[in-house]
């Protein structure tokens, strides 16, 4: 029996896949992710990126924070908690959603899995147990933090469906955002058609005790397509192409913001499309309604197409090269699109006609000297990359 008191000796936990991921991590590149040791790359980010867009990749998702929510009033509870309609989420389906504090500021985003009429799984980046429990007052619902109880892998890429088929799971009829229940070595296994890559892909949810066998099984099944594990660097590239946000990177979760002006509403993150105004009360609704009516949103989260090929991480956005208009939160020279793309928080007043005159100031360090660039940027559609295979059911072979 492990002595629980000795946890401090391994402040970064290893995921159930660690024996395999550490063997594959050629450079020993790790970073802390939510209290776990997560690979930043396995030796070659470019090849890992290519695996996602060309064939099939595996990403260890275990550190994702997970809450199990169940009870006769779980649906009502979640409808009050989250901005999107949970009543409309069928059993066996998943959706992306956000939740807000009383002031209508985004606390986090995540995916909600409806596993049964009264059973849900909420996956997110940050920890929220006190908020989830306090919100449960008056509901017949139980909330449990189950991060360590589930081993999760993300299998992503054009050949991911074929890999699963080769592994013995034909999920070709599974539509995006749906869940399939299969079995692995006589134990139930859950596969959802979800992911953070904007590509064809699946997430696999297993009993941690099966983790290693599952990993080996998938690696064997995917071998013909050159399956390979990817780290967070490659994942970040594809998620930017897909236009997905990361809490703490593209916005500051409301409960963490020290500075009162740093919090953002769903409108200000371009996530107001999630809100179901018809479903009755949900947390933050009053404030959001007022914001909608007054048009008081101060910020906009936008996709940018930036001139040149120098990626603009952390750059300041200017209007007319002079007035500060916002900040780039994520940026990438996209290998697939051959475009210099970015996500940015832009002051809303610079949307519209003024967006014609936006500039990005880039400090490019080249051999110990900064090359200072002031280059034009154009507000553009997100996602930057959204191939047909992402939605096609059944998926094509590649």
């Amino acid at each position: 029996m492990r002595d629980k008191r000795l946890h401090y000796k391994t402040p970064l936990l290893q995921t159930p896949f660690h024996p395999r991921t550490s063997a594959a991590n050629l450079h020993g590149h790790w970073a802390a992710w939510a209290g776990y040791q997560g690979a930043t790359d396995f030796g070659d980010t470019e090849m890992e990126y290519t695996a996602v867009r060309n064939a099939v990749s595996v990403y260890d998702l275990c550190p994702m924070v997970k809450y199990e929510i169940s009870g006769t009033q779980a649906q009502d509870y979640l409808d009050r908690l989250l901005v999107r309609s949970v009543a409309r989420l069928p059993v066996g389906a998943v959706h992306y959603t956000v939740w807000c504090d009383d002031n209508g500021k985004v606390m986090d985003d995540g995916t909600l899995f409806r596993l049964g009429e009264t059973e849900f799984l909420l996956c997110c980046q940050e920890r929220h147990l006190p908020w989830l429990l306090d919100s449960a007052i008056g509901y017949d619902v139980a909330v449990r933090e189950v991060t360590e109880d589930i081993a999760a892998l993300s299998l992503q890429g054009p050949c991911s469906a074929q890999t699963l088929k080769a592994a013995g799971w034909d999920v070709s009829t599974l539509k995006p955002f749906r869940i399939a229940e299969v079995s692995f070595q006589d134990k139930p296994l859950r596969i959802s058609r979800t992911g953070f890559t904007g590509d064809l892909g699946y997430e696999i949810w297993a009993d941690p005790r099966q983790a290693l066998a599952l990993w080996d099984h998938l690696m064997q099944a995917g071998a013909p397509w050159g399956i390979r594990p990817i780290g967070s660097d490659a994942l970040d590239m594809v998620r930017i192409e897909a236009g997905f946000l990361i809490a703490g990177a593209d916005f500051v979760p409301a409960e963490q913001a020290l500075r009162p002006d740093r919090v953002r509403s769903p409108f200000e993150l371009g996530l107001d499309w999630l809100i179901d105004w018809e479903k009755g009360h949900f947390n933050g609704r009053r404030a959001l309604l007022a914001e909608r009516e007054s048009g008081a949103s101060e910020w906009a989260l936008v996709g940018l197409d930036i001139a040149g090929n120098v990626s603009a991480e952390g750059a300041i956005l200017y209007h007319g090269k002079e007035r500060e208009a916002g900040v780039v939160t994520a940026a990438l020279w996209s290998p697939t699109l051959k475009r210099n793309i970015a996500l940015a928080q832009l002051r809303r007043s610079y949307l519209g006609p003024k967006s014609e005159d936006l500039w990005v100031e880039i400090y490019a360090m080249r051999e110990l000297n900064y090359v200072k660039l002031m280059v034009p940027a154009r507000v553009t559609q997100r996602p930057f990359f959204s191939p047909a295979r992402r939605r096609a059911t059944p998926p094509e072979d590649f």
């Binding site: 008191r5 946890h7 002031n103 147990l129």
Partner: protein, 537 residues
């Protein structure tokens, strides 16, 4: 040659004032009644080879701007961050604290899954309060009753800072400044041990219980400092807290100032409403263009200034300035490191603050004893072993242990403390430690036991109040020490106060001393090298 400035008391604030003045070109001398320097920031060798931190024992509040302006690093000062900490529980377990964020969360989760995830929001909220108050520390408080442009501007500045906050935060702030730490913690946590650990900072040096309104602010007073920018963190001064006042003295001397120890001031000499110098206990009269007292307000004005020279209302208010003592201290030389049975071998927690009071309730009971005029029978102790980190204070393998104790009243059942009372108090504390670290007693080479009586006698802290006056809301900012006299000026011309009785209060912070120097130089129209307070961005 007549001095430009004479400072009474070589506490750290007096030394800070003196150094700034000397650097601005003034001829400065500091008179200290003890044969050593430091006031409550002092290190003495009471057992051969062992350096103590006899009063204060940890550093966080000391302003980095002062360390930099006065080049204290050059004169030997180094602040070491420490790690760990734990509260031992009566059932033989413990709750540890860890610098590692995830380790800390998992440790809290051993007690409550919910509280483990509540700590970040708690820290965020406390940090928001810190961000409001930190910029106020190194500014002279405005006098709201006077309508000088400077006071109005300063009031407006504070007003703007408030108005910049969202409504909910203003409400939260007003609640925070007035509520009890117990109520405040209840808003975040459910587990009594976790709350017990976190409540500590609100009762250190306070004649309040954790359930008394106003105790939450005291918590802030202990969180608003930093170690190298790490806000809320605490550290050790390498070589003991006396290293701070030693470095200050060297800095002062390098700037041409002087400290004269064993020179107790009897009274401030006043002629025609102006302070012109002092008379010492040994009969010497020393003249100076201005006199600055580092002693607390009560000691300064009620003992060393002729009452006839002071406004009557002022004297009444100084008399009512609350200085109730609540703390005692044990300083112990140890032959070896104590072993706390609950801690796993090699746990880092010994390198931090160790407590034995595992609930707020129990702390409040300890306070009940204080109210009834007795030291706590089941006291709250903040135990530190700085030698776990600092190699300079004892021979290798030996340790110095500092035990800060709440509660110890200024008087026992209305009577002065006797030696027997003091020894009983010491025994109570040592027995408590022995319960959690069997064999501890046999390691003791020497113990210094200090009650409010000893603190007053040695440092001159009236009633033994460690902060030169309680840190309650009614005694802060422009009301510290009394309304109308918060700008470091006494009612007598050329007499100033610069100790912890003034804004922003007690602790080894240096801000009162620096603010006083700024005012003195301003009045004297002397330009000076004083860096701006670091901005909170």
């Amino acid at each position: 040659m007549v001095l430009d400035a004479l400072i009474i008391g070589a506490g750290h604030n007096g030394l800070v004032t003196a150094s700034y003045l000397a650097r601005a070109g003034m001829k400065v001398a500091v008179l200290e009644k003890n044969d050593w320097i430091g006031g409550a920031a002092v290190s003495r060798e009471l057992y051969p080879g062992f350096t103590y931190s006899n009063c204060s024992y940890v550093s966080s509040l000391f302003r980095p701007e002062i360390m930099r302006d006065l080049e204290l690093s050059r004169y030997g000062l180094q602040i070491l961050p420490y790690e760990g900490g734990a509260v031992f529980t009566r059932d033989g377990g413990y709750l540890g604290m860890f610098r590692d964020h995830d380790a800390n969360r998992r440790e809290f989760a051993r007690f409550s899954a919910r509280d483990a995830e509540a700590y970040d929001r708690y820290s965020r909220d406390v940090m928001q309060h810190c961000r409001f108050i930190r910029p106020l520390l190194m500014r002279t408080p405005p006098d709201p009753a006077r309508f000088r442009p400077r006071d109005l501007a300063e009031l407006a500045w504070i007003g703007r800072k408030v108005m910049d906050l969202p409504e909910a935060q203003i409400a939260g702030m007003i609640r925070f400044w007035t509520m009890s730490i117990s109520d405040f913690l209840d808003e975040y946590f459910e587990n009594p041990v976790i709350k017990g650990y976190l409540a500590v900072s609100a009762i250190i040096g306070t004649a309040l219980g954790p359930m008394s309104p106003g105790s939450a602010y005291v918590l802030l007073h202990h969180y608003m400092g930093d170690v190298d920018g790490n806000v809320g963190a605490w550290g050790f001064a390498r070589g003991g807290m006396g290293a701070i006042t030693r470095a200050l003295t060297r800095s002062l001397e390098a700037a041409g100032g002087e400290v004269r120890t064993g020179k107790a001031v009897k009274r401030v000499l006043v002629r025609q409403g102006r302070a012109i110098g002092v008379e010492t206990e040994d009969g010497e009269q020393i003249h100076a263009a201005r006199v600055i007292s580092n002693m607390d307000a009560k000691r300064t004005f009620l003992r060393h200034v002729d009452e006839a020279e002071l406004p009557a209302q002022f004297v009444r208010q100084v008399r009512r300035f609350k200085t109730r003592g609540s703390s005692g201290k044990l300083n112990i030389a140890l032959d070896a490191a104590p072993k706390f049975t609950a801690l796993p071998e090699g746990a880092p927690n010994l390198r931090g603050d160790l407590h034995f009071t595992d609930s707020v309730e129990r702390m409040e009971r300890a306070y009940d004893d204080w109210k009834s005029g007795h030291f706590s029978r089941d006291p709250f102790q903040d135990v530190m072993i700085p030698t776990m980190i600092d190699p300079t204070m004892t021979p290798p393998g030996k340790h110095f242990m500092s035990c800060f104790v709440q509660y110890a009243p200024p008087k026992i059942a209305g009577k002065d403390w006797t030696d027997a009372d003091r020894d009983a108090f010491g025994a109570t504390c040592i027995d408590q430690i022995e319960t959690y670290a069997p064999g501890f007693k046999s390691l003791i080479l020497h113990a210094e036991i200090r009650t409010p009586r000893e603190l007053e006698a040695e440092v001159g802290l009236t009633e033994g109040n460690i902060f030169q006056g309680e840190l309650t809301f009614d005694q802060l900012l422009f009301n510290r020490p009394v309304p109308g006299y918060a700008q470091y000026r006494a009612p007598i011309r050329d007499l100033w106060i610069s100790g912890s009785s003034t804004h922003p209060g007690g602790g080894v912070m240096g801000a009162p001393g620096r603010n006083a120097a700024a005012e003195i130089l301003r009045d004297a129209r002397i330009g000076h090298q004083m860096s701006d307070a670091y901005a909170v961005i």
